[in-house]
Amino acid sequence: MALTKFNYNSFDVTPVASKAMGFNSDADGLTSISPTSMVLIKTLTASSDSSLSFVNGSSDVVLDSTYPIYLFKWINIHPGNDSVHFSFNGSDDTSSHSYNITKTSTHFEALLYEGDTGAAVQYNTAGDLAQSTGVQSLGRGVGNDNDQATSGELWLFSPSSTTYVKHFMHRDNVAHDGNGSFSNRISGYFNTTAAITAIQFTFSAGNIDAGKIKLYGIKDS
C-alpha cells in the first residue's frame, strides 16, 4: 500500500496563516506558534579589520524596504589602538560605496571612573554633529587593555525611505581608556531623502581588533 503523506489539515490543530505549529504551554497538545519579529540578518566578526560594512545586496545583507526598522548590536568591540572612538557612517550609493551622508545629531553620556572620580551626566559637544558628512562617533575613548571593549546597539529607522530623513538612535557602554564606565547615547538623522544602502563601522584610528556586529531586521507584520 502506498504511503499517504500527512497534509496541512491532518494535524489536531486549527491552521493559522503564516504561523508555525508547536506545542501548547502544557506540552500536552498542538497549537499555532507566532514567529518572533526580530530576525538576524548578518553577523560580521572583526579580526584586525579597518572597517566592517553592511551593504544591501552583498553577502546576504538586507538593508532596504524589507524591514521598517533595522537594529545593529555589537558585542565586545575591541580596538587595536588605545583611546579611540567607535564610529559609523552611511552610504546612499548602489556600488563603490562612499560613506559620507550628511548628519545632524546629539550626544550625551554618563561616566564614572573606577577610582570614584569624574561622576557626571553631561552633553558632549565633541560627539555631536551639525550637518557633517564625517563619521558619527558612538563609543568614545574605548580602551585597548586586554579586557577593555564596548558593547551596544544602534537603531536605524526606515533607511529605504525616499521621502523622509532617516533617524537613528544608539546606546552603549564603554570600558574607557582611563579605566571607567562611560555610557553614551547618540541620536540623530541622516539628512537625505535618498535611500541609505550601506552602513560602515570604524574606529577613529587603527583597526577593529576583535568583536562582532550583528544586523537584525524588525518586522512590522
Binding site: 489536531d12 508555525a20 518572533t36 530576525v39 548590536k73 565586545n76 554618563a110 573606577e114 546597539e153 557602554n173
Partner: protein, 214 residues
Amino acid sequence: MALSKVDYNSLNVTAAASKALKWNSSANGFETGDVGGSLVLLETQTADDSATLDFTSNIDSTYDEYVFKFINIHPATDNTNFSFQADTGTNTSYGQTITSTFFNNSHTEAGGGGGIANETGQDQAQGTAFQRIIVDVGNDNDQNSCGYLHIFSPSSSVFVKHFYAETIIMNYNDGQYNSFIAGYFNTTTALTRFRFKMESGNIGAGVVKMYGVS
C-alpha cells in the same frame, strides 16, 4: 471509519511547552525550538513575596547577549530599591566588582521635581554591592516598576561584562522616575548566574523574564 487527526504525542519528538516543531539541523528528524526570530525566551520567574529571584541556568556562550525584562515589580516594603548582582560557577556570594553610572529623570504628580540628575548615591566605583536599578519604589497597591536590563557576553573569559538598564518607576512619593543605569562587571571570569532582590523586604509581586539574543 472515523477520521483521526495526528495528535501531539503521535510525533517522534518529545513535546516541549510553547515550542515549535522543527526539522533538525540534518533535516532527518524532528526537534523543538523557536522559529523566525532572535529574541528567545529562556525563563520566566514570578515573584510571590519572594526574597530573591535567581536565574542560575541557561547563561553561557549560547547567546552573545541576555535581556531581562521586569513587569510590574511590586515591593512588599514601601520606599525600597530593586537591585541585581551576578556570580560565577555555582557560587552564591553575589558580590562581583562593578563600576557603573546612574542618572534619573523625575517628576511628581504634584508637578514638582521635574529634572534630570546624576545619582552618585546609586552608582558604584569598583563596588561589590548589589547594583540598584529601581529606586524608591512605593508599595501602594497600584505602585510598581517596569524596565529592562541588557548583559553582554557574560561568558567571556577575556573582557569585562557590559550591562545597561532603563527602568520606569512609580515612587513612594507619588511621582515618576525614569532611570538609566550602565556599567560593567570588572571581571574576566564567566558570569553564570544573576540574582534580583529588594534591599529591604521581599519582592511582593511581579515578573522577570530572561531572553537570549541569538
